[in-house]
C-alpha cells in the first residue's frame, strides 16, 4: 500500500457525492411554492416572539472549559498506551502518575462545585 491517506482522500470525494446528489435531485423534482406563512419559523403554531439569536445562557459553560483541558490531556494517554510495552517501569509509572493527577484534578473540581449547572 502506498499511502492509506490517499484512500481516505478518494473515499472522501466519493462520500461527498453521496449526500449531495439526493439533495440536488430533490431540489430538481420537488415542488417549490414558498409563501410567508409556510416559511415562518416553527414555534408550535404561534408567531415566534423575540429574537432567537440572543445571548443564550449556556448553563454548562464551566463543563466546556473543563472539557478542553481534560480532552487535551487524555489525548496524551494515547501514545503512552501504544508504547507501553517498550517502556521501562519508571516510564510506565509516570503515565500512571499522570492519570492520578488528572483524577485528582477532577476530584478537586468536583469538590469545588464545578460540576454543577449554573
Amino acid at each position: 500500500m502506498l499511502n492509506p491517506w490517499l484512500y481516505i482522500g478518494i473515499f472522501l470525494i466519493v462520500v461527498f457525492i453521496l449526500p449531495g446528489v439526493p439533495v440536488l435531485i430533490s431540489a430538481l423534482i420537488a415542488p417549490r411554492k414558498p409563501n410567508p406563512i409556510k416559511n415562518a419559523t416553527y414555534e408550535c403554531g404561534v408567531e415566534t416572539v423575540g429574537d432567537t439569536w440572543v445571548q443564550f445562557k449556556v448553563q454548562y459553560y464551566v463543563f466546556a472549559l473543563l472539557f478542553v483541558i481534560f480532552d487535551v490531556e487524555s489525548i496524551f494517554l494515547f501514545p503512552w498506551a501504544v508504547a507501553y510495552n517498550q517502556m521501562n517501569l519508571f516510564m510506565a509509572l509516570e503515565g500512571v502518575l499522570f492519570i492520578l493527577i488528572l483524577t485528582g484534578g477532577l476530584a478537586y473540581i468536583w469538590k469545588k462545585g464545578g460540576l454543577e449547572w449554573v
Partner: protein, 586 residues
C-alpha cells in the same frame, strides 16, 4: 392557614350580622354575602369554619332580577357536605366584586373564567385577562342577553337547525348583521391579536434574582398549541434562562366551544351524552356527576342494581383513565410509547365492556336520571359477561399492574427524572384547589368517595391512597395504588351486585320536569373532583349548567410547579397532572 383545632359552629349569619344572609329562594341553600365583606367572610370560612378547600367558583346571570351572582363552593378536608355562598352584583355598568385569589389560590383561573364569560370584574385579581375566549372577543357570552350567531332565541331546545329538512349554511341566511358587532375600524383580514403581546409583556417583567444571573438574555418560547406532548391544543408560554424555567403561563381555550352555553340550550337529558365529551377518557364518571346533580333536583331514587352498575362502570373507567395517564406520563419521559401500548392492551378490554354495554367505547352516554340506560349484555367477546369482567378484574388487571410495577416503578431513569420534580406541598395543594391524584400525592387524604360519599361508596371497603412527597413520582404511585383500590372495589361490586332488578327509577323519559332550584353534584373522577352546578327555573333546559373541571383547575398550579425546573420537566409535570383538553377548554 392552619385549620382551627375546633371549627366554630356559630352560624355565618350570626358571625357576620348584616353582611351575610341566608339564601331563601325556593330550592336554594347557602348564604348570600355582601360584596364589600366578601374577603373577610371568606377568610373566616377558611380559617374559622375549616372550609379550607375552594371547590368551585362560577357565575349565574339572573337577568330578570338584574343581577349577576357568583357562587362559591367550599369544602372541609375532613369531609362532609360543601358550603355554598354567593355574592351578587348588579349586571349593568361595570360590575365588580373583590377577588378571592388572596384567600384561595384556586380561585385564580375560575375567577378569570367568570370574568371571561360574564364580564364581572374581580378587583385585586393579579392577572385578570380572558382565559377561554380570545382577548379581543366582544361581549360576555354566558350572559343571557348575549346572542350567538346561530341561535338567536333564548332557548330553543327543540327547533331544528335545518327547518323543513333543507340544509343550508347559516351564514347564507344570516349575514352576521344582527348580533355580530365589529369594533370600529375592525377588518377581519388585517386583524392581529394583541392578546399575545399582553401576555408576553406580563412575562417579561419577571426575572431571576440578580445574584443568580449572569449577563445573558432570557427568551420566551411558546410550547403549544401544536406541540407533541401538551396532550392536545394546550399552550404554555415559557420564559427561559438557558434551559431553566423562569416563568410559565398556561394559555388555553383553543378547544373552547362554550360547553356550558350549549348545555343551557340543550334539554336536561340532551346534556348527558354531551358530558362524555368533557373528559373523553372518563366518560362514565362525567355521566355520573351530571346524573347526581340533576337527580338531587328531581329527587329520584336510583335502584340498587343501577347503583352497582354505575360504580362498576365508573371504577373500570378509573382504571382505564389511570392506565392511560401513566402510559402518557412515561411517554412524556421519552419512553417512545412502549409502556403506553402495553397499558393500552388492558384498556382495550375495559373499553370492550363499555362498548358491549353502552354501545360506544368512549362516548358511552350510559347513565340517565334515576338509573342507567342498559343492563349488562349477556356476552362480551363470545364470553359470558360476568366471567369476562371477573377474569379482567381478578386476573388480568392485577397481573398487568404487577407488570407495570416491575418494569417501571424501580426503573432508574424514571426515578431520577421524576423524584423531586414538580413538588406540590400539601398546603398549596389545598389552597390551590388541586384535586384527585394531584392532591392525594401531596399527602392530603381527600377523596370524595370517602369525604362526601355518594352512590354506594359508603358500603364499599377501600382506602384513600396518599403519598407524602407530592412530586411526579408520587403522583405516578398514587395512580397505581388507586387502580389497585379500584380493583378491590370492583371485586366487592361483582360480589354484592344484585343479580337482577330494575335499572331505572320508573320509566325512562326524554323530558324531565326539574323543579326550581340549584344543585351541586360532585363525584371523584379519575382526574379529581368533577362538579356540576345546575340551576333550574322549571324550563325543559337548565338555566345554568356549570362544570367544575378538575383538569382546568389543576392547571392553576402549573406555573408554580415548573418554576426553577428544566424545559424537559415541563412536559413531565404536565403529564403528571393528567389533563384532557376537552375538559380544560370545555
Amino acid at each position: 392557614m392552619v385549620a382551627p383545632s375546633k371549627p366554630i359552629t356559630q352560624d355565618l349569619t350570626e358571625r357576620f350580622p348584616g353582611a351575610v344572609s341566608k339564601d331563601t329562594r325556593p330550592g336554594y341553600e347557602g348564604y348570600i354575602v355582601s360584596a364589600n365583606k366578601l374577603t373577610e367572610v371568606a377568610t373566616a370560612i377558611r380559617d374559622e369554619y375549616g372550609y379550607e378547600y375552594l371547590a368551585s367558583v362560577t357565575g349565574v346571570d339572573y337577568i330578570a332580577d338584574g343581577k349577576l351572582e357568583v357562587v362559591y363552593h367550599a369544602s372541609k378536608m375532613s369531609g362532609g357536605a360543601s358550603l355554598n355562598f354567593k355574592v351578587q352584583a348588579p349586571r349593568d355598568g361595570e360590575p365588580e366584586i373583590p377577588s378571592l385569589v388572596g384567600v384561595w389560590q384556586g380561585a385564580d383561573f375560575q375567577e378569570r373564567e367568570v370574568y371571561d364569560l360574564y364580564g364581572l370584574r374581580f378587583s385585586g385579581h393579579p392577572d385578570l385577562r380572558r382565559i377561554l375566549m380570545w382577548e379581543e372577543f366582544e361581549g360576555w357570552p354566558m350572559r343571557k342577553d348575549w346572542k350567538e350567531v346561530y341561535y338567536e332565541q333564548d332557548a330553543k331546545p327543540f327547533k331544528t337547525r335545518w327547518p323543513e329538512g333543507s340544509v343550508y349554511r347559516i351564514e347564507e341566511k344570516n349575514r352576521f348583521n344582527k348580533n355580530v358587532r365589529y369594533p370600529k375600524g375592525f377588518d377581519p383580514r388585517s386583524f392581529k391579536s394583541d392578546g399575545d403581546e399582553k401576555l408576553y409583556a406580563l412575562m417579561r417583567g419577571e426575572h431571576l434574582p440578580e445574584h443568580q444571573r449572569i449577563n445573558t438574555d432570557e427568551i420566551i418560547v411558546n410550547m403549544g398549541p401544536q406541540h407533541p406532548s401538551t396532550h392536545g391544543v394546550f399552550r404554555v408560554v415559557v420564559k427561559l434562562d438557558g434551559e431553566s424555567v423562569v416563568d410559565l403561563k398556561p394559555v388555553m381555550g383553543y378547544l373552547h366551544r362554550n360547553h356550558e352555553k350549549i348545555g343551557e340550550r340543550n334539554t336536561w337529558l340532551m346534556n348527558m351524552p354531551y358530558t362524555d365529551r368533557l373528559d373523553y377518557l372518563s366518560g362514565m364518571g362525567n355521566n355520573h356527576g351530571y346524573a347526581l346533580a340533576v337527580e338531587k333536583l328531581i329527587g329520584s331514587k336510583v335502584p340498587e342494581r343501577a347503583e352497582y352498575l354505575r360504580v362498576l362502570m365508573v371504577e373500570l373507567n378509573r382504571i382505564a383513565n389511570h392506565l392511560w395517564a401513566i402510559g402518557f406520563l412515561i411517554n412524556d419521559l421519552g419512553a417512545f410509547q412502549t409502556p403506553m401500548l402495553y397499558l393500552a392492551k388492558q384498556r382495550e378490554l375495559i373499553l370492550d365492556i363499555f362498548e358491549a354495554t353502552a354501545g360506544s367505547r368512549m362516548m358511552c352516554n350510559y347513565m340517565r336520571f334515576g338509573g342507567v340506560v342498559r343492563d349488562l349484555p349477556s356476552r362480551i367477546r363470545d364470553e359470558d359477561t360476568l366471567d369476562f369482567i371477573t377474569d379482567l378484574v381478578a386476573e388480568r388487571l392485577p397481573a398487568a399492574l404487577d407488570e407495570i410495577e416491575t418494569l417501571l416503578t424501580f426503573n432508574e431513569i424514571i426515578r431520577t427524572r421524576s423524584i423531586g420534580v414538580g413538588v406540590l406541598p400539601a398546603k398549596q395543594a389545598i389552597n390551590g384547589s388541586a384535586a384527585g391524584p394531584l392532591l392525594r400525592a401531596s399527602g392530603v387524604p381527600y377523596d370524595l368517595r370517602r369525604a362526601d360519599p355518594y352512590s354506594i361508596y359508603d358500603r364499599l371497603d377501600f382506602k384513600v391512597c396518599t403519598r407524602p412527597n407530592g412530586d411526579v413520582y408520587d403522583r405516578y404511585l398514587v395512580r397505581i395504588d388507586e387502580m389497585r383500590e379500584s380493583i378491590k372495589i370492583l371485586k366487592q361490586v361483582l360480589r354484592d351486585m344484585p343479580a337482577s332488578g330494575a335499572i331505572m327509577d320508573g320509566e325512562s323519559k326524554y323530558t324531565h320536569k326539574v323543579p326550581n332550584g340549584e344543585s351541586y353534584g360532585r363525584v371523584e373522577n379519575p382526574k379529581g373532583e368533577l362538579g356540576y352546578y345546575v340551576v333550574s327555573n322549571g324550563a325543559p333546559n337548565p338555566y345554568r349548567y356549570h362544570v367544575r373541571a378538575p383538569s382546568f383547575i389543576n392547571l392553576t398550579m402549573l406555573g408554580d410547579l415548573c418554576k426553577g425546573h428544566k424545559v424537559a420537566d415541563i412536559v413531565v409535570i404536565l403529564g403528571s397532572i393528567d389533563i384532557v383538553l376537552g375538559e380544560v377548554d370545555r
